[in-house]
């Protein structure tokens, strides 16, 4: 019996120790990361908006909490060589940093799945979600949406990608008659394909990685993607190429929006102001993000891995 009691005690002790360690290390990591962000904050942007920061409501006072799904290069992704908050890189992260700096707030990135990002804003866990969201009617109903921002050619150009072996078979709407087009569920590409390729068969998938797999597998003839994503996919999958077809993209769809909690107009306005002020830098940010994205696998002309 003594043995049993001591065993239970031992388990308890170990568990409490572990919990202790877990929480402390997590906290330290967070603090360290935020400190760095603040240190890196530019002096120019931060100074001019301190007045505005006073009226801004955030979940944690003094902190801008941003939900994002960092598995979507080059918009937001994770640099596995880094630790803590520094791991999160990409266009939206740079943008979030800029917004936080200009509002005089510390930036706290909350990584989570794409679906969860919206929940985080809705539930008040995060102040905003910046994860390459397109504007849609439904989103506008449930969230405050920011003004549009453009991530280089990522959203301006919407294209089809296909197996390189197809050549220019799917370059025109004519050639696409009856072809199977894959698009991410509830995405801009879904609406574009429905509108502009009525004679093709639209098939939906839930996540881009799966879509690429299905394309390689022959389930689709093409998939509809934003140009930037398409380039990242092609960079790592030499058997895939653009089909030559481009969608005509309506003004209101050409940008991304940031989602904020419904009714938090103060923060929304402040974010819009920061967006307007940063317009000139978007292309630079996008190209920087693109440059560091992508796994370093190089291929020769035949599509074989070059060593």
């Amino acid at each position: 019996m003594k043995k049993t009691v001591s065993m239970i005690l031992a388990v308890l002790l170990m568990a409490s120790l572990l919990v202790g360690c877990g929480s402390t290390s997590a906290n330290t990591a967070t603090t360290a990361a935020t400190a760095e962000t603040t240190a890196a904050a530019g002096t120019d942007a931060a100074a001019e908006t301190t007045a505005a920061a006073a009226e801004i409501k955030t979940v944690t006072p003094g902190v801008l909490t941003v939900a994002t799904s960092p598995d979507f290069a080059p918009m937001e992704f994770t640099d596995p060589t880094k630790q803590g908050q520094d791991m999160y890189v990409g266009f939206d992260i740079t943008l979030a940093k800029y917004i936080a700096e200009s509002l005089g707030l510390e930036l706290q990135i909350m990584p989570m799945s794409f679906d969860a990002c919206q929940t985080a804003v809705y539930a008040g866990t995060a102040d905003m979600a910046a994860s390459g969201f397109s504007w849609t009617e439904d989103r506008a109903q449930n969230y405050n949406t920011s003004d549009y921002y453009h991530a280089g050619d990522n959203e301006d150009e919407q294209v089809l990608i296909t197996l390189a072996s197809n050549g220019d078979k799917y370059a025109t709407a004519e050639g696409l008659k009856g072809a199977k087009i894959g698009a991410q569920n509830a995405s801009l590409q879904q609406s574009l394909a429905t509108e502009q390729l009525p004679d093709s068969e639209l098939v939906l998938f839930t996540d881009l990685g799966t879509g690429v797999l299905q394309l390689k597998n022959g389930d689709f003839d093409c998939i509809a993607v934003a140009k930037g994503n398409g380039d990242a996919i092609i960079a790592n999958n030499p058997e895939i190429a653009t089909s030559g077809f481009k969608f005509v993209v309506d003004e209101k769809y050409t940008g991304n929006v940031i989602l904020l909690q419904k009714g938090n107009d103060g923060l929304t306005e402040a974010v819009n102001a920061a967006l307007a002020a940063s317009k000139d830098q978007w292309d630079t940010w996008y190209n920087e993000a693109k440059a560091i994205s992508g796994i370093e696998i190089s291929y020769d002309d035949q599509g074989n891995v070059a060593n």
Binding site: P80, L208, A232, N237
Partner: protein, 240 residues
């Protein structure tokens, strides 16, 4: 589908990210699992006691607790613990890692409580009768006679719970908590390759779960034999 690139890509991803998969992913998965099962065991013991108590109200509360946690998807529970509860218990100031851990602990406690309850109930009723007939009270019987025997039913089942939890913690990747599945998401996010990193994840999981389940199996078989109680005073070779 063209598989000629599969192996080279696999090798490339492994050589580039093996530290991420093993030192970050596997490590965090093991830590999360251990915390969940250890705390889940403590909490589960409490719930099992409630469920076997004489009070009808306590039994009812424990039943609802167990049924709700076992009857709803663990992802849903994670959402509640991550998004809803922190807003209610704002004074707790816990990190996201803690909330997810708590969610997994509580989920695990529901399963463990059933493991403990059935482990106790699997002890022959005659043992209770013999102890009570000697004049031992209900509590003395539980502590001296039933629990020491129930532990032998419970430990192997706890091993299985550990293996199950090892896989369940992959849901922590919904919040990028750094477990093995998070490693996969990270690699997928930059490379747009899915099958290759998933294959690596599968192999890592199998490398852990297969030997573990073999050990639990052997242990369980040994424990199931009632004649296997070791003689503590006399060495096996020392009888007669």
């Amino acid at each position: 589908m063209d598989f000629t690139l599969f192996l080279p890509n696999l090798a490339k991803i492994w050589s580039q990210y093996w530290k991420l998969f093993l030192f970050t992913g596997l490590k965090n998965t093991l830590i999360l699992t251990f915390i969940s099962v250890a705390l889940g065991t403590v909490l589960g013991t409490l719930v099992a006691m409630l469920k076997m108590s004489k009070s009808r109200i306590l039994r009812f509360i424990a039943s609802v607790y167990v049924e709700v946690l076992r009857g709803t998807p663990i992802l849903l529970q994670l959402y509640v613990f991550y998004f809803v509860l922190p807003n209610i218990f704002t004074f707790l100031k816990l990190s996201q890692f803690m909330w997810v851990s708590i969610s997994l602990c509580i989920n695990s406690s529901a399963y463990v409580s059933e493991v403990i309850r059935s482990g106790i109930q699997a002890v022959d009723k005659g043992q209770t009768e013999a102890a009570r007939s000697l004049g031992l009270s209900e509590g003395q019987t539980m502590v001296k006679i039933i629990l020491p025997q129930a532990v032998r039913n419970i430990l192997p089942a706890l091993g299985n719970e550990f293996i199950m939890m090892l896989k369940e913690t992959s849901l922590a990747s919904t919040f990028f908590l750094g477990d093995i599945m998070t490693s996969y998401l990270i690699v997928k996010g930059v490379s747009y390759l899915t099958l290759e990193p998933l294959t690596i994840v599968a192999i890592i999981y199998l490398c852990v779960t297969y030997p573990l389940s073999k050990i639990v199996d052997r242990f369980g078989k040994k424990m199931a034999n009632p004649n296997s109680y070791r003689n503590r005073k006399v060495k096996a070779g020392g009888k007669n």
